[in-house]
Symmetry: C2
Subunit: 202 residues, 2 copies
DNA sequence: GTACGATACGGACCAGCGGTCCGCTTTGAA
DNA sequence: TTCAAAGCGGACCGCTGGTCCGTATCGTAC
C-alpha cells in the first residue's frame, strides 16, 4: 500500500480551511476580495498550509466547489428520478438544468470564484466535462435535434455563474423567475422537433 | 470651449498602444500573460501613459475591444440586411448571432481578455447591454416564445468567448462547424412553431 | 511513559503585478 | 525665441500568489 493516512491535524486543518474559505467567499461581494492570506488567517493556519494542501488558489477553490457539488453529482449518477438515470431524456434534461441552476444560485460565490479563477478556463474543469457528456448523451436521444454536442454546451452556458449572478443580484430576478425562464428555454430547445399537436405543455 | 483637441503625441501614443496591445494579446495564449508593462514597452511608451490614457487595465482592454467592434456595431445599427434594421426578426436573429460568433472567432484574444478581466463581470459592459436589448426586442416578435429576456441572454451565452476558445482551440472545431451548430441551435430556439416545409430531422 | 523519525506547520520571505508620483520633455501659440 | 501648459516615463509603492526552512506536532516503537 503506497497509501498512507494523513495526520489528524492535517485533516482538521483541511476542514477548517474549507469552512473558512466558504464563509469568506460567501461574505465578500467579489471573489477577488478574498486573498489566500485571508483564508489562512480565518482558518487559523499558516499560508503555506493552504498551498501544501491544495497546490494553489485554483486548487483550493476547485476542491471546495467539488465538495459542495458532490451531493448533486451523486443524485444525478445514482439517485431517483427526475435526476437519476432511470428518467427518460425529455424529462431528465430539464431536471438536470434546473438542478444546476439551483446549485449555482445556492453557491453563487463559489461558482463565481471558480469560473473566473485567473487564467484557467472553466471548461477545463473535470465536472464540466461530466455535465456536458451526460447532457449530450441525453440530447442525442431527442428527435430532430442536430448537434447535441453544441446544444449541450449552449444549454449549460445559460447557467453560467456570472450570468446567474448578474440576473439575480444585478437585475433582481427571483429564484423562481429564473427557474421558470430556464425551463421555458429548455423546453423550447427540446420541443422544436415534436410534431405539431403533441408538445402540449407550455 | 471646454473641448480641447489632444496633442499630437498623445494621439500617436494612443494608436501605438492599441496596435501593441492587439498584437500582444494575439500572440500570447493567455490574456494574463500580457502585462501593462509589456504593452507599454511594446508600444514604446511609459507605463504611466497607459494608465493616463485608459484609466486601468480594464479600460484599455475595453477601449480596444470596442474599437474593433465598431464596424459590426455600425453594420447592425444602420447597415443593409441581414444585419441591418430592415431585416425581419426571424432572419435577423440568426444573422446577429452568427456575426457575434464570427467576431469572437476573429478576436478571440480580445474577447477572452475582456470577459475575464479581473473583477468585472462581462455583463456590466455597455456593449453587452446593447446586444441584449436588441436581441430581446427581436425575440419578442417570435410567436410562442416566452421570456425573450432570458432567451436573449441564453443565446448570447452560447457565444461566450471562453466557450468559443474552448471549442476552437481545445476541441479543434472549425469555424464553419461552429457557425453551423450555432445556427442549428438558434433555429431550434426560434423555430419551435414548426419551420415551414422543412423535413429537418434525419 | 518516553524517545525518536517522519510529517506537517507557519511566518518570514520573494518575485511580479497593477497602479501612482514627480521631475523632465515636448508641444504649439504668442 | 519664449514660455506655460500638456504630456511623458521610469522609479516607486502596496499587495498578491507562491516558496523556504527552522520548529512544533503526531504516531510509533520500545
Amino acid at each position: 500500500m503506497a497509501e498512507r493516512r494523513p495526520r489528524k491535524d492535517a485533516m482538521r486543518n483541511r476542514a477548517a480551511v474549507f469552512a473558512a474559505a466558504d464563509a469568506l467567499f460567501a461574505e465578500c461581494p467579489s471573489p477577488d476580495g478574498v486573498t489566500m492570506a485571508d483564508i489562512a488567517t480565518a482558518a487559523g493556519v499558516g499560508k503555506a498550509t493552504l498551498f501544501r494542501a491544495f497546490g494553489d488558489r485554483t486548487g483550493l477553490i476547485r476542491a471546495l466547489y467539488e465538495a459542495r457539488l458532490e451531493p448533486l453529482r451523486k443524485a444525478v449518477e445514482e439517485g431517483p428520478p427526475p435526476l437519476g438515470p432511470a428518467t427518460p431524456p425529455l424529462l431528465r434534461v430539464p431536471a438536470l438544468l434546473d438542478a444546476v441552476l439551483c446549485f449555482k444560485l445556492d453557491n453563487r460565490h463559489l461558482a463565481l470564484a471558480l469560473e473566473r479563477t485567473g487564467a484557467d478556463s472553466p471548461y477545463d474543469a473535470e465536472h464540466y466535462e461530466r455535465w456536458h457528456a451526460l447532457l449530450r448523451a441525453l440530447l442525442a436521444c431527442v428527435p430532430g435535434l442536430d448537434g447535441s454536442d453544441f446544444a449541450a454546451h449552449a444549454l449549460l452556458a445559460a447557467t453560467r455563474a456570472d450570468l446567474v449572478e448578474y440576473l439575480a443580484a444585478g437585475k433582481g430576478r427571483t429564484r423562481e423567475e429564473m427557474r421558470a425562464q430556464l425551463a421555458d428555454f429548455t423546453a423550447r430547445v427540446l420541443g422544436a422537433g415534436a410534431p405539431p399537436g403533441t408538445a402540449g405543455d407550455g
